[in-house]
């Protein structure tokens, strides 16, 4: 399969625990002052039938995310991917990552601005 010209992040939101490592890792890497960061984590309480609910955390890269170009050029993972406590972020070529989507439920693919 031909590669895409773009890279992105595959987010496995089934296992994101909302620990904010990604958010702070990005601040450290890029010197963002609070509340700025290249990635935010949202808490989503889904309503389910029969008075039930489901708690999800969704990390969402912001307008500030530059996909850690400096790091990835050196062959390193982006700072958020490296430090993610649940190992639920994957950096890669968008086309490769899109194939991963089929293999496991509860994932989203993010492409940069």
């Amino acid at each position: 399969m031909t590669k895409s010209s773009k890279n992105g992040l595959l987010i496995d939101y089934e296992y994101c625990t909302g620990c904010f490592s990604c958010t702070v890792a990005c601040c450290q890497e890029h010197g963002w002052q609070a509340p700025l960061s290249g990635i935010k984590v949202m808490e989503i309480v889904q309503d389910l039938p029969k008075d039930k609910a489901y708690l999800t955390f969704l990390p969402f890269p912001t307008e500030l995310c530059v996909l850690c170009a400096k790091r990835t050029r050196k062959g390193l993972d982006p700072a958020c991917v490296k430090h993610c406590m649940a190992n639920c972020l994957t950096y890669g070529n968008l086309r490769d990552l899109s194939c991963e989507l089929e293999k496991k439920p509860r994932m989203v693919l993010w492409s940069p601005r």
């Binding site: 904010f20 958010t23 702070v24 890792a25 309480v45 490296k82 430090h83």
Partner: protein, 813 residues
């Protein structure tokens, strides 16, 4: 400009604030931390790192860090301090503490610490060099970790934790390891903070490998949403649930019969007349009180279990597990006896799933299904959190849970609950169940330790003083006055102190207080001398709690600050002319001695795992004879068995079998209070941004969790006319505090969850940083510990909520 060097070290202490263990790479340039990253080679975190450790650059060079010793020049509680030199500070401390020692005895100084980090050994070192046995963990009922450890020491001789292959090279891929089929997460949001010397996200690793989760939690946590069974329990009723699980397991015969027969005290006879264990001394002339009695049906006679030899007095004994037996006592009386197993079953019998549903609010069907799933899963593990400690009847609760992993054959098996000892048995200081290198010079000095005589576990395993009794004694001055307090990385007015106004009065009453910390805190305002401490990046240290064995390696120095260990070492030398160690590294070397490595050797390696067949490495140690000092198979309990009927509890005049008792302030135990305070109040839910009362001043972290929040169900909020984000008052008969409403369905209708540890380091208009304003401890009493001195009702109180008054700003608190 120098170049950047990378120092490999271990997180433990101020900084992330956790109970530590991560390998990190600190990037240092010109003696400054420029970046910190997780060490990908480290077996513990494998490159990962939490938000608090990643925020270290903001922590270490924070403009508010204390960088000089301070002397109080105003009144207690004011902000009048002046800078002094380290020498002057040490001289004043030495003089004042020695005069307290001369006039009132060394026990009149209390040495107090907060959460369990690289401070316990050094605070013990200082107290013991001074001659005081009174080392205090400042939480009411000592209600964090040591109650659980002491409870397990009581019934199974050693503590245990879930097995995430942390002892094995290569971790999950090691051939000896098995991924648990089921894991019970009992009152824990472990991924937020890594408490209890475990890396929280190991459980997420296991879930990805197929482990199915049972979550016991009143809140809808990350784990609750991803569980096979989520048991939404009423806080404080955990023992009823555990007994309900046991009821199902016993009724369905899902227990491991071989383990029951071989490794527990099940066949021991219990007298029906006294309810006590039958001892050899009851039936045999000159028989020992340490030996027990079983009944062999084939031989139709009783047989003695010889505790010293760990064997029956007659070979090939087949003891009866159940039955009613007539025994003739030495005194001529004839009594009937049943077995410990009969007694144990009798304790579980009333807890049918229906009855447990009434008590716990968990549906009977779910209790039954979850119990069967746990018992059928091989292997299965249970991991519990601090809510287990935070109830007065903590030991019977732990006993019931321990019986679950023991009876299902999950003790010290791969992927089960495995015994934990300090790696390589390198023990720095006395913890429940272990003797350390650092100890009182003369055991007689332990005599005046507060709480020791009143409470069994404090006499047997817990070498701290009982916190509630200390506060009581500060006011009563009986049996001796408390004059001084050494308060190190401990902030009772904001975090660890229940009923903080009581603590404030206690601090006001003392003659001399030394505070050691990294930032000015509300509690430090009461100190006479303040010493600026260091983060983990600024010091050397050793860590053996639990595994691997590792060193902390100094990466930077911050001018003016000194590591806890260095501060306490200097003063220990001044207080004890015969102080044993010349240098701190001599002391480290002695602690590490059982590993065969010196500090320098271990530092070079970074970390080490205990070798196969070492007593500090799993598995099957009770079979291999690795747990007992006599080298015999069995457990390190007084009787050598896993005790379903606790011999120590019997000795302490406490109920030897597990039971449930309704906690002191619940809708059931206090319907009178419930009328006015119709909501269950719980506190202590973890935030990944903070460790207890710390980190409110770190911008990257504070922005993640900016306000003290109380979680309220949408229906409860609308009933009380409260909208999301509004400030509300949470109050009860003890006091009140203000919180921002977080209206959310993760909390049940009948409960609210208020965040703990809040003060406002940015609000400098008040010397106490508004520490009583949003402090949930204002609503929690002290002195409600259990009969063994342990536990406190922190997770299950009562309260009401209301919107803050309009107009006049917020309520004056």
């Amino acid at each position: 400009m120098g170049k950047t060097t990378i120092v490999r070290t271990t997180t433990w202490s101020a900084g992330p604030g956790c109970h530590g263990g991560c390998g990190v790479l600190a990037h240092i340039k010109d003696n400054k931390l420029v970046k910190i990253e997780g060490d990908p080679a480290h077996p513990w975190n494998q490159g990962r790192l939490c938000a608090r450790a990643l925020a270290m650059t903001q922590y270490i060079d924070h403009h508010d860090r204390l960088k000089s010793p301070l002397k109080r020049v105003g009144k207690r509680g004011e902000d009048q301090f002046e800078e002094i030199s380290w020498d002057e500070a040490f001289d004043i401390i030495e003089k004042r503490m020695k005069s307290i020692r001369d006039d009132f005895g060394p026990e009149s100084m209390i040495f107090s610490m907060g959460t369990g980090r690289d401070i316990g050994p050094w605070i013990c070192m200082l107290a013991y060099a001074f001659g005081s046995p009174n080392v205090m963990f400042a939480l009411s009922g000592n209600a964090c970790y040591s109650p659980r450890i002491a409870a397990l020491d009581t019934v199974q001789g050693d503590y245990c934790v879930f097995d995430a292959a942390q002892w094995l090279p290569g971790r999950y891929d090691h051939p000896e390891y098995k991924v648990p089929e089921c894991m019970i997460i009992w009152g824990y949001n472990i991924s937020a903070t890594c408490p209890d010397n475990l890396f929280g996200h190991w459980i997420i690793d296991l879930m990805k490998k197929g482990t199915k989760i049972i979550t016991i939690d009143p809140r809808l946590s990350f784990f609750a949403s991803r569980s096979k069974y989520w048991l939404q329990i009423r806080p404080g009723t955990d023992a009823a649930l555990a007994l309900g699980f046991l009821h199902v397991i016993i009724k369905e015969k899902l227990y491991d019969k071989n383990f029951l027969e071989t490794f527990t005290d099940a066949p021991r006879l219990v007298r029906n007349d006294t309810g006590k264990l039958l001892r050899e001394s009851d039936v045999v002339k000159r028989g020992s009180t340490d030996n027990f009695v079983v009944f062999d049906i084939q031989k139709n006679t009783f047989v003695i279990w010889n505790t010293l030899g760990q064997e029956y007095s007659i070979a090939n004994t087949t003891p009866a597990l159940t039955g009613n037996f007539k025994i003739n006592l030495l005194n001529g009386k004839s009594i009937s006896c049943v077995t410990a197993w009969d007694k144990f079953k009798e304790s579980c019998e009333p807890y049918t799933p229906q009855k447990v549903e009434e008590i716990t609010f968990v549906a009977a069907g779910d209790i039954e299904k979850a119990a069967k799933f746990y018992a059928g899963a091989k292997p299965a593990a249970i991991h519990w959190g601090v809510p287990i400690d935070m109830t007065p009847e903590i030991t019977p609760l732990c006993h019931a849970i321990a019986a679950l992993w023991a009876l299902t054959g999950n003790l010290d098996v791969p992927g089960g609950n495995v015994f934990t000892r300090s790696a390589f048995n390198a023990v720095a200081y006395a913890l429940p169940g272990a003797e350390g290198v650092i100890k009182l010079k003369d055991p007689a000095q332990d005599k005046p330790r507060i709480g020791k005589d009143e409470y069994g576990p404090f006499n047997q395993f817990i070498w701290r003083c009982q916190t509630d009794k200390v506060i009581e004694q500060i006011f009563s001055e009986k049996p001796y006055p408390v004059k001084g307090l050494w308060m190190q990385t401990c902030n009772p007015l904001s975090g660890i102190g229940l009923d903080p106004k009581l603590w404030q009065k206690a601090l006001e009453k003392l003659d001399f207080i030394v505070g050691v910390d990294l930032f000015m805190t509300p509690s430090l305002r009461y100190a006479d001398i303040i010493l600026p401490a260091a983060t983990f990046l600024e010091k050397d240290g050793v860590r053996s709690w639990w595994v691997p064995l590792q060193t902390i390696n100094k990466a930077v120095t911050v001018k003016g600050c000194r590591p806890d260990v260095e501060i306490n070492f200097e003063l220990s030398k001044r207080f004890d002319p015969d102080f044993k160690w010349e240098t701190i590294h001599d002391l480290f070397d002695e602690i590490l001695k059982p590993s065969g490595m010196s500090f320098d050797e271990l530092a070079k390696k970074g970390w080490a795992l205990p070798p196969e067949n070492h007593a500090s490495r799993p598995y099957f140690r009770h079979e291999k004879g690795l747990l007992r000092s006599d080298g015999k198979p069995g457990f390190a309990t007084p009787s050598g068995k896993f005790e379903l009927y606790s011999t120590l509890r019997e000795k302490w005049d406490l109920k030897p079998l597990p039971y449930f008792k309704e906690p002191p302030f619940t809708p059931v135990s206090r319907p009178d209070l419930f009328k006015d305070y119709p909501l269950i109040l719980s506190t202590g839910r973890r935030s990944p941004a903070f460790f207890h009362a710390e980190h409110r001043n770190i911008p990257w972290l504070r922005t993640l969790d900016p306000d003290p929040v109380v979680e309220i169900h949408p229906d409860t909020a609308s009933k009380n006319n409260i909208s999301n984000g509004e400030w509300v008052v949470v109050e009860n008969w003890m006091g009140k505090a203000r919180f921002k409403a977080k209206v959310t369905k993760i909390i049940p209708r009948w409960m609210v969850m208020a965040a703990h540890g809040w003060w406002f380091p940015e609000k400098k208009d008040d010397p106490l940083f508004h520490t009583f304003e949003s402090n949930i401890n204002m609503l929690i009493p002290m002195n409600e510990q259990g009969k063994d001195g342990l536990g406190a009702p922190i997770k299950h109180l009562l309260c009401r909520i209301r919107k803050e008054k309009k107009g006049g700003g917020h309520d004056k608190i």
